[in-house]
């Protein structure tokens, strides 16, 4: 055959093969599309989780050191002069800074905002990411934090300032190191702070290389020395932001790696199965091609090309779909990581596309080579009579089962095509494992979410008038770590000690009267008071958050990993990280320094508590003598009786509290953004993987139905009804589905039990058996049936086609 003739013939063979087997071509394209999209999403998330902070920091030219300079002690020129210190590679500032507590028209009071005055978001250091709106151009315009809920203080709305005046919200922005929460023009900030002088100025520095903690301390000392004495009011190291971001990323990595591995593994299996099956199903056509003069090499080329055409289309669309899905997910991940500018790396797209096409080519090559080597007569014979005698024992056995004959005929079918059945089994197994893993993960995360903060179980919060709870007045700017140094006398991780309930002074509110009002209010189920303070613990470097409970100790109980919750004075419960960081164990005694007095507490339990990096001590307020003299607790948390309306309860309680100077509000529903993102990621990735598994089944059943169409015609001719035909086709996958489900279930559970503790380790905590052991009967039974559901869903369409096939046409099919 001349090369030109062969070329044109092969082109036609490829085109007609693609066009004639439309369903199969479509399935190959769809399976490749979903597999590639899954791989792009999984790959992007894994890449995004690899040092996300470092990448974002480099892109944003983040500040290694953020310095707050007391404007009353150093002039702007003196602050600016620090830019020329040795080792400073780049700097920005001085920017005027103020702190605002505005109220939004919609959304109520906003958290306290550290506002910097900058004329633009760019510059040599700390390039801000404007996520919405535009940069402020007038003194009464403000840029808010990017991670504020979107329905709070929308762009264009007004903010009211406590001392009067309004600001217009013009957009949202984010700093990679959290140099500030909000931004205005320098003139706008200057105008606001003139009334509350002395304010501070902000200088942002980048040093050469990647400074270590000790080098930053030295650089900080140089800055302090270059300024008038006491002018350096505080500094913030980029390492704090990096620590928090890397920790969040580390929580995601085991989860994403598991899903990535599942996605990639399943993509390879399904694509290989689909393509291999497609070529294998065309043996007779291959025989005819050889009979008319095509060489084995031409046959191989034709069939590899025939597989690559739909696979290439599926790959291209899959890359697009993967990017479309990954984009919003990366936005969520970006928010969780507190970083900026995460996007799908171009090389992930390229690698996934190349990998998919390689898998397709190899999967097509193997059966095509086999077909190319077959003698022409054999190829035609194999195509016409695919029955090989395999699986007859299964038919004999199934025929004895006490089930309808159509069902037993179907049950034995997979044994006639063991390789194809194994591929289908693997697809179902992966799909079930993915679903089991994801659903278990979601259940665990929900359990963790509920256990994370017992305060979340309270419906009503009563502020006692003492120091505000953490997360409000003491909240650091967004993205700042839990252990940050703000004062010139403090290094990172240090904070001034402050006694429980001490704050700005004893609370003017009478705690006993507040408690009496809460207890007397109809609808109160239980309540407890909390006093919070930053204290020091002997032998522990840096400050520790102390949380004291009064009244109903049990109501404030955290999930206990080991030991028990506090039951009285002299006891302490601490998180895992506290034990790991201090080397203490349950049964040890720690000494808390409280207003010069040492209070000894015995550790009686290890709690699941991720707040403030796990450096917490929980104890009964009665452990501290005379605590009641310090006024009301900082906060009272109230649980309501079932059916009680929060609004009417609040109305009644506030009437009683108003004369006491206290106020009750609905407790914030604080859902962890990490949990929300993980939940949505797990849901989406599972849906994709289950779809890929279903497509794998669909393809196998389409091939099977096509091969058996003549037998189906015979069965219908001798009286098999459409319903019996559907039952037979569905039964042919149900067994595999059940087996895949039963194998996938323990695989998914094992993966969950492997990954979840790794995620816990990354978050610095152990997990309770309650959090890991989420696979209970009501969850396991549907999951075990999940394999059958995947298989049956995948087979439903071809089963319908088989039932509708014209008997006479089927009988004419060779």
């Amino acid at each position: 055959m001349s090369a030109r003739f062969a070329g044109s013939v092969l082109g036609r063979v490829v085109r007609s093969g693609v066009g004639r087997r439309r369903v199969q071509t479509l399935v190959v394209a769809l399976a490749t599309l979903m597999a590639v999209a899954s791989a792009v999403v999984a790959g992007s998330l894994v890449v995004a989780s690899s040092a996300p902070f470092d990448h974002a920091f480099a892109r944003a030219h983040g500040a290694h050191l953020t310095a707050q300079i007391d404007a009353g002690k150093a002039t702007a020129a003196q602050a600016a002069a620090t830019a020329h210190l040795p080792g400073v590679a780049a700097s920005a500032g001085p920017f005027p800074v103020t702190v605002l507590s505005p109220t939004a028209q919609r959304g109520g009071p906003l958290p306290e905002l550290t506002v910097a005055g900058r004329s633009s978001p760019g510059g040599p250091v700390d390039r801000l990411e404007v996520t919405a709106g535009r940069w402020p151009s007038a003194g009464n315009e403000i840029m808010l934090p990017a991670d504020l809920p979107p329905d709070v203080a929308e762009t264009g709305s007004a903010l009211t300032l406590p001392g009067g005046g309004t600001l217009t919200v013009v957009g949202r922005a984010r700093s990679v190191t959290g140099s500030a929460d909000a931004w205005m023009t320098p003139a706008g900030v200057a105008a606001l702070r003139s009334a509350k002088a002395p304010g501070t100025d902000q200088m942002l520095y980048r040093f050469s290389g990647s400074p270590t903690k000790s080098r930053l301390a030295a650089d900080r000392a140089k800055v302090a020395a270059a300024l008038p004495k006491g002018a350096l009011a505080g500094t913030r190291s980029y390492l704090d932001a990096k620590y928090v971001a890397d920790r969040e990323a580390a929580t995601f990595v085991p989860f994403l790696m598991a899903f990535g591995a599942l996605g990639l593994g399943m993509s390879v299996i399904v694509v290989a199965g689909v393509v291999g099956g497609m070529v294998g199903a065309n043996l007779r056509r291959i025989g005819i091609l050889k009979a008319i003069g095509c060489t084995p090499a031409e046959v191989v080329r034709a069939y590899v090309a025939q597989a690559l055409v739909p696979a290439a289309a599926g790959t291209a669309l899959g890359v697009v779909l993967g990017n479309l899905i990954a984009y919003p997910l990366l936005g969520d991940v970006q928010q969780v990581y507190g970083t900026t500018g995460l996007s799908v790396a171009w090389w992930v797209d390229a690698a996934v596309a190349a990998g998919a096409l390689l898998v397709v080519a190899v999967a097509a090559l193997v059966p095509a080579l086999r077909a190319g080597r077959l003698r022409t007569v054999e190829a035609i014979a194999v195509g016409r009579a695919p029955g090989t005698g395999r699986g007859r024992w299964a038919q004999r056995f199934a025929g004895r089962l006490p089930l309808p004959r159509a069902v037993t005929l179907g049950l034995a079918t997979p044994f006639a095509r063991p390789v194809r059945s194994a591929s289908m089994l693997a697809a179902v197994l992966f799909g079930t494992a993915a679903a089991t893993f994801a659903i278990g993960l979601a259940a665990s995360l929900n359990t963790i979410g509920a256990a994370r903060d017992p305060a979340a179980n309270a419906a009503v919060s009563v502020m006692g008038g003492g120091p505000a709870p953490q997360g409000q007045e003491q909240a650091p700017p967004q993205g700042q770590g839990p252990a940050q140094g703000q004062g010139p006398a403090q290094g990172p991780g240090q904070a001034p000690a402050q006694g429980p309930g001490q704050g700005p002074g004893p609370s003017p509110v009478d705690g006993a009267k507040v408690e009496a009002a809460i207890a007397a209010q109809p609808g109160t189920a239980s309540y407890y008071g909390v006093r919070r303070a930053r204290v020091t613990v002997t032998g522990v470097v840096g400050g520790v958050d102390l949380q004291l409970y009064q009244h109903d100790l049990r109501a404030g109980a955290y999930e206990i990993i080991a030991g028990h919750w506090i039951t009285g004075p002299g006891q302490a419960v601490v998180p895992t990280h506290f034990l790991d960081a201090t080397g203490h164990r349950i049964g040890d005694t720690i000494t808390v320094q409280d207003q010069g007095a040492a209070v000894r507490l015995r550790i009686v339990g290890e709690a699941f508590d991720l707040e403030n990096d796990g450096m917490h001590v929980h104890a009964a307020a009665t452990s501290f003598a005379g605590i009641e003299k310090r006024g009301a607790a900082d906060e009272y948390l109230v649980r309501l009786k079932p059916g009680v309306s929060t609004a009417s309860y609040l109305s009644g309680l506030n009437s009683a509290l108003k004369p006491l100077g206290a106020q009750a509000t609905a407790a914030a529903d604080d859902v962890s953004s990490t949990i929300v993102v993980l939940d949505s990621l797990a849901g989406l990735l599972t849906l994709m993987l289950v779809t890929v598994a279903g497509l794998g089944v669909l393809n196998a059943v389409v091939l099977d139905t096509r091969e058996r169409v003549h037998d189906l015609g015979v069965c219908k001719a001798i009286g098999m009804s459409p319903r019996q035909t559907v039952a037979m086709v569905l039964a042919s996958v149900a067994g595999l589905g059940a087996a895949g489900g039963l194998a996938g279930l323990p695989a998914g559970v094992a993966l969950h039990h492997l990954v979840l503790p790794l995620m816990g380790d990354a978050a610095g905590t152990r997990l309770t058996a309650h959090m890991v052991g989420v696979y209970r009967v009501p969850l396991v039974v549907p999951l075990a049936l999940g394999g059958i559901v995947i298989a049956v869903l995948g087979a439903l369409l071809p089963a319908g086609w088989a039932a509708k096939a014209r008997t006479a046409t089927a009988l004419r099919t060779e």
């Binding site: 009579a385 029955g387 005698g389 699986g391 007859r392 038919q395 004999r396 025929g399 004959r405 159509a406 034995a412 006639a416 003549h710 037998d711 015979v714 069965c715 219908k716 001719a717 001798i718 009286g719 098999m720 009804s721 459409p722 319903r723 019996q724 039932a803 509708k804 014209r806 008997t807 006479a808 009988l811």
Partner: protein, 230 residues
């Protein structure tokens, strides 16, 4: 004696503007009759048989078999009709390769919901009558063509159908096997079975049929009863 088959101007056209594959054809077949449909390739013989069996639907006219309007039945009702009223013997046997001979014969009875034991007994009885009982546990691929066609006839008769349809039952057989099958069908007919067979085999038509219809280009060119032309 009532009519088992009544075709009233039945016609079948496939897609396109070409001539119809069949008809319109009007034809009655009485109970106990053995009708041979003969004619050249493409004359519409198999189409006629497919319409009677409910494997295909007419594009015009009506088809009534054993008192039921086959052309009006839905797919599920057609399936029930086929397994209860029709036995079908194909040219290429169409036995299922993965099932043993006995399982092939039992299959229509099992699909019709006949109890397992009863279906097995009936299959064994037929295999005995048709002389292939020693192959009951074998797979069809190991049998000769004649033996396979005997198994196919046993399968067609397992549900005691009112009508036995045979499409070129000797077409794929050598002379000796063809003769065996001819004898077999004659014996079945002598037992009172109504038979319609489509064949090129004039010897089969002559030896078995009580009536012969000749189709040419989809229409009846001749309708002869044994020994006399109509």
């Amino acid at each position: 004696m009532g009519h088992v088959i009544e075709l009233d101007a039945a016609a079948k056209a496939y897609g396109g503007a070409g001539a119809p594959a069949l008809g319109p054809v009007s034809l009655d077949v009485a109970e106990g009759e053995a009708l041979a449909v003969v004619g050249p390739s493409g004359s519409g013989k198999s189409t006629l048989l497919n319409l009677v069996a409910g494997l295909d639907r007419p594009t015009a006219g009506t088809v009534t078999v054993d008192g039921r309007r086959v052309d009006r039945l839905g797919e599920a009702a057609l399936a029930r009709f086929r397994r209860e009223r029709i036995g079908f013997v194909f040219q290429f046997f169409n036995l299922l390769d993965d099932l043993t001979v006995a399982d092939n014969v039992r299959l229509p009875a099992q699909l019709a919901g006949t109890p397992r034991r009863k279906a097995a007994d009936r299959a064994a009885e037929l295999l005995e009558i048709l002389g292939v009982h020693r192959h009951a546990g074998a797979y069809p691929g190991r049998l000769s063509g004649g033996e396979r066609q005997r198994v196919a006839v046993a399968r067609a008769l397992v549900n005691r159908p009112a009508l036995l349809l045979a499409d070129e039952p000797t077409g794929a057989l050598d002379t000796a096997s063809g003769h065996e099958v001819r004898e077999l069908l004659a014996e079945v007919h002598r037992g009172g079975q109504t038979i319609v067979l489509v064949t090129h085999d004039m010897a089969l038509a002559r030896s078995l049929a009580t009536r012969t219809v000749t189709l040419v280009d989809g229409t009846i060119a001749a309708d002869e009863r044994a020994g006399a032309a109509r």
